[in-house]
Symmetry: C2
Subunit: 129 residues, 2 copies
């Protein structure tokens, strides 16, 4: 599968030095939510389908389903609800918990960006000395 | 090579949910300093030898040297200075810039830990609702 990692976009100041980072949420040492999983939830919401969401991320259906299953299991409630059959093979939508998970993680990413911007600014000072 | 990644050690509160993260410093989109590189510098200081430092990290000498070279080049000055020949094949030591780089990155890791601890505490609140 393609890796879906997010890069912070702050300007390269500090003589080209830039602080970068990545965050994720674990439960009992297993990944619960990361950038790729958040994008998967966003795409499921957008397409109303796990298979189309997976396809848009160059990810196998099985892998996408395993990720959804992992999130549902760890949250103790479904983040994604699915309906079987019908034209197009059934659909998928986010539950209220799924919407909350996206919001939660997006907020964390925003706060990480603030942290990294501060650290990049700090580098600028220390590299100038 | 073995991966040398650092895990933040804060307590798993928030029903087992825990925010984890990783940071690194790039220059022009190339890694300048990360956890593994910082440990390599610390080991070079400890052993006075790039080859012994590499061995202690289950890393090839070539890989260790490439990392040192990458850091020296990007910093625009040597972080590690080497002396040729002699018994044991010459030695290596950190320059003032090398010492400063360790201190810089260790400080960044400490501040990341504070950030992650805050985020884990925040998760506890939001997961309880």
């Amino acid at each position: 599968m393609k890796r879906h990692r997010r890069e912070n976009n702050q300007l390269d100041t500090s003589q080209g030095f830039c602080c970068r980072g990545r965050v994720w949420i674990e439960k009992n040492s297993e990944t619960y939510l990361g950038f790729g999983r958040m994008v998967l939830l966003q795409r499921i919401k957008e397409f109303g389908s796990i298979s189309q969401a997976a396809k848009s991320m160059a990810m196998s259906y099985k892998h996408a389903w395993d990720l959804v299953d992992s999130m549902n299991r760890q949250a103790g409630e479904s983040l994604v609800s699915t309906s079987k059959g019908g034209k197009g093979g059934g659909g998928a939508s986010l539950t209220e918990a799924g919407e909350a998970a996206i919001k939660e993680f997006a907020g964390l990413l925003d706060r990480l960006d603030v942290f990294l911007a501060k650290e990049t600014a700090r580098l600028q000072v220390s590299m100038m000395r």
